[in-house]
Structures are given as C-alpha cells and as structure tokens.
C-alpha cells in the first residue's frame, strides 16, 4: 500500500469534516476519491500531505507520517487549483518549485514538455488560461519524478476540451505506472480513468472498491410476449412492469429457449447501473 488511513478524523468544533475514514491506495493504480462538494475530499488530502493535522486517527504515505519531508519529496500534488506567483512566468514558477524540491533545471524543461507548456513557459502566470494554470500545476507536481501523484479536482473550471486533455494526461501517466490519487466530484471522469474508487459523503467513506464492483452484477433485460410464459421458462427471472430481469448469462441460449417455446422476443439488452446511480444511492444514504 502506498497510502493508508485508519479512522482518520478531522473535527472543527462539533462538526466532523472527515469522520473515521479508512482507505488504502495501492502502488501503480489510479485511485478515484469520489464525493460531492464539501464531502471532505480536500480535507482528507490536506491531512495526507501534512497541511492539516488530524483530530484523531492515523495515516501513512509511502511509509511515512503525513507531511514528513521524506514522503513529500516522493509525492507530487495539486490541491484545489494551482498556487503560483502571478508575476512570475510559468518557467520561473517551476524553477522556484524545483529549488524547493532540490531538482535541476533539466527536469523543469521536461515537465513543461510533458504538459505541453513549452511555448507558453515564458509568459506570466497571471496571463495563463485556467487550463494552462492547471497544466502548470501538474507540471509542478511531476517535478522530482514522484512515486505518488495527488490531484485534487484537476479538471475544476476547465472547458470540455481542457477536461479531455487533463484526462488524457492522467491516463498517460497511469500507463507509465504512475500511482495517482485523483479526487473528483465528476463521476464520468472517475469511471473513465480510475482502477479503484473510494466514495466519501458527509465526511464518511461509504464504499471502496473497483468501479466494476461498485456497479454490481450486470442484469439482462428481456422484453417478451407473453411475459408470464417467459418468466416460467427462465429460471430466476423477475418481472419488472412489462419486462423481465435476469442475472446476466448467455443471452443467445436464453433467446433460443424462448423462441423454441413460441415466445416472441422483442428486446434483449444488458442493463447495468451507472456509477452515477450507485453514487447517488450511496451518498443519498450516507
């Protein structure tokens, strides 16, 4: 495990912003930290990076306590938007960051190249578009070739093209074996690029598993006439209005059975819950 937390809690007064969260991120995976705005994602991440001290519970990042310099030097992060000096160019901002991380100039250029910002590297940060600012934030996170990349809402405020670029970038990093902890409230984003997901709502981790597991077993929807006869023929099926639901199996065999028994088959298709449906179920119940 590259990140683990055990009953990690942060309280402000009586209010628990993060409430006994226990999660784990494995080496080499893209872990999606999913939750609505205000669910406690950023506070959890801030605790993992040592910016906020937990009220109780423990956490370990790369085997070290959160915020330990040894761990931070192996972690690249972008939290709630990039924080850079507006009067410096993108390149100078990275040079400042490189000094702090103890890395050389060559890595600055490599990082700029990786996020496709070389052409605009000489422009002042304040003149950057939101997408360029986010990309510079990712470039800063990549300095020092970190083992773990923590990206908190990296597509926030981006237009669709910018969001797609950012997803491509994360996908490319993941393909190189980079471990990524990606926090987001965008379900499609998480569904598309994450291996495993932790769902947080009102400060509590309500689920942690692969996207597939979260969505549960797939079901076949069958529209047939007469439906009563079809239900008798297909063992384990249930009637939902004018259709049958049956755990996904060999659809061809089912159709052959129904046709042979003189049942009209009008529609057969897999019925899968989307992550969105699962998410609303979970966060609504939290």
């Amino acid at each position: 495990m590259i990140v683990t937390t055990e009953k990690l809690t942060k309280r402000y007064g009586d209010r628990a912003v993060v409430d006994e969260v226990s999660l784990s991120v494995r080496r080499g995976e893209v872990y999606g930290f999913l939750g609505p705005n205000g669910a406690g994602k950023t506070t959890t991440i801030r605790m993992l990076l040592g910016l906020v001290k937990p009220t109780s519970g423990t956490a370990s990042v790369l085997g070290e306590a959160p915020g330990a310099p040894k761990a931070l030097l192996r972690v690249g992060s972008l939290i709630e938007g990039p924080g850079f000096y507006p009067y410096l160019s993108g390149r100078d901002n990275l040079r400042v960051h490189a000094h702090r991380r103890g890395v050389g100039r060559t890595q600055v250029e490599a990082a700029l190249e990786q996020v496709d910002l070389v052409a605009a590297a000489g422009e002042k940060f304040r003149r950057y578009s939101l997408g360029m600012k986010q990309r510079l934030g990712v470039a800063a996170a990549l300095l020092g070739r970190p083992e773990l990349l923590v990206l908190d809402e990296p597509t926030n405020g981006l237009d669709p093209a910018g969001m797609a670029d950012m997803r491509d970038l994360v996908r490319a990093l993941a393909a190189q074996g980079q471990t990524v902890l990606l926090s987001s409230h965008l379900l499609g984003e998480v569904e598309e690029i994450c291996d495993r997901v932790g769902v947080i709502a009102q400060g509590r981790l309500v689920a942690e598993s692969t996207v597939e597991q979260l969505r549960g077993d797939s079901v076949l929807l069958i529209r047939a006439d007469p439906i009563e006869k079809a239900q008798v023929l297909i063992e384990g099926s249930t009637v939902h209005g004018d259709v049958l639901h049956v755990r996904e199996t060999d659809a061809g065999a089912l159709v052959r059975v129904l046709v042979a028994a003189d049942v009209d088959v009008r529609e057969v298709r897999p019925l899968r819950r989307t992550l969105e449906e699962v998410f609303f179920e979970m966060t609504g119940a939290a």
């Binding site: 910016l51 702090r100 991380r101």
Partner: protein, 271 residues
C-alpha cells in the same frame, strides 16, 4: 539552502520588491539631500537646523547617519510593508500550500523566507548607502566643500541600519503570518509604525509610565539606536537610551517576532 534560493528568486523578480526599494531610495534622497540642499541655498524656513547642521548632515563622511536616520519610522514602514506582503500574499495566491507540499519542513520553509528577506534588507541598506554617498559627493562637489570619505565608524551606522530594518522585517513577517493575508498585515503594520507609537508618545507627555514604555517599543528602540549612531534630525529618532540598550531591545523584538511567526507557521493548519 534550496528554500532560500527559491524565495530569493521569487522576491528578486517581484516588482513590488523594487518598487518599495525605489520609493525608499527616492525618499532618502529627497528628504536627506534635495530638500536640505534647497534649504541651504535660499530656503526660507530652516526650522531649528543651523546652516552648519545642514552642511554636516550632507557631508560624505556622515553618510552613515544619513542611511540610518530615516529607518526608524518611514524606512522601517517600507521594509515592514515588503515583509508583510511577501509573507501575507502567499496565503491568497496559494503559494504557501505549494511550498509546504514541496518537501521542506515548515521551519526550513520559514527560514528560506526569512533568509531571502534578510538578503533583500542587506541589499536595501547597501543601495541606500551607495545612493546617499553619491548624493553627498555630488552636493559637496557642487558646493565646493572639502570632503572626505566616511571612516570605519560608518560600519557601526550601517550595522544599526541593518538591525533596525531586520526588526521591522520581523514585525512584517509576524503580521503576515498572524493575519494570513497582505491587506490587514500592511494596514496594521503601517498603523503601528507611523501612527500608534507617535500617539503613545503624545500620551507619554501626560503619563510618565507610558513615556517610559514608548522608549522601548519597536519604533522607540529603533529611534534610540539611530540616535545613538548619530542619525539625529529626522522623525522618530530619539536619544533616550544608550545604543547598546536599544540594540538589545531590537534584537529581542526581532527574535520574538520571528520566533512567534515560525511557531504559528509550524503549528497552524493551512486550510
């Protein structure tokens, strides 16, 4: 060392650094030489400064006093603004968050900021010395005075100038960390440096204990140190304490401000 390099790079390229240093240099030139030179050549209101005093204040050999003279109040206020902006702005820009997740310990990150600000203070005092010396030599040459370069005693005045500026820098850093923003830090700092201590001095003329207190407040201590190294004749310069006592108070203030700011930085959540 990486933290100092990083902070120095960003402060060096920050226009605000050079605007504030430039404002200070213009002020020291204007009030230290331009107005005095005009007063010497036909000015009608010389206040209580005799002609000999005016000439003496502009002599190249007295340039050390000219450097330190303006720092207890106006120069100090400018240095305080620079430090408060340098530290306080990082909260709004989100750069503290970037800094503290980059790897260095919080103490090292603060040491980097303080080290870089220290270097900027040395540059400011050094530039003030060079500009004032240039102005003094120009005036002396224009007036046809016999003049000589300052002796080794100038280092005492420059040391005092550095100590005064360092104390105001510490105050600015402290305010920047406490208020977590530039605006309130600058406002409170200017209020203290220019208004509050002067008001207390006014009250001090009525109440003895307050008068004693004002001598050892940050601005009072700075004024007394400036006065002890010959920087008389400017607002805020006092001669109530010995140079050593005033210097000790300044060192104490600098340590308390920097220590408190670092402690807060280390212990407080960055939300």
């Amino acid at each position: 060392m990486g933290s100092v390099k990083a902070e120095l790079l960003r402060l060096w390229k920050w226009p605000a650094t050079w605007v504030l240093i430039g404002v200070w240099l213009v002020m020291t030139l204007t009030f230290g030489y331009v107005f005095n030179h005009l007063a010497l050549n036909g000015g009608t209101n010389r206040a209580d400064l005799s002609q000999q005093q005016l000439i003496s204040s502009m002599q190249p050999e007295n340039v050390g006093a000219a450097v330190v003279r303006g720092l207890p109040m106006f120069g100090g206020a400018i240095v305080l603004v620079l430090a408060a902006l340098a530290v306080g702005s990082g909260y709004g820009w989100g750069t503290w968050k970037t800094t503290l997740t980059a790897g260095p310990r919080r103490v090292s990150a603060m040491a980097g900021t303080l080290g870089a600000l220290g270097i900027i203070v040395l540059v400011l005092v050094g530039l003030t010395f060079v500009v004032d010396l240039g102005a003094a030599i120009t005036v002396a040459s224009l007036e046809g005075w016999d003049w000589s370069l300052p002796g080794l005693g100038v280092f005492k005045a420059l040391g005092a100038a550095v100590l005064i500026a360092a104390m105001w820098t510490g105050f600015g850093v402290f305010l920047g960390v406490v208020t977590r923003g530039p605006a309130l830090a600058v406002g409170l700092g200017l209020m203290w440096a220019i208004v509050t201590e002067n008001l207390l001095r006014g009250v001090g003329s009525l109440l003895g204990p307050v008068e004693s207190l004002t001598k050892v407040l940050p601005g009072g201590s700075a004024g007394n140190l400036a006065g002890a190294v010959g920087g008389a004749g400017a607002p805020g310069v006092l001669t109530d304490l010995s140079g050593t006592t005033a210097a000790l108070f300044l060192v104490g203030y600098a340590v308390v401000f920097v220590g408190a700011a670092t402690l807060l930085k280390v212990r407080r959540d960055l939300v």
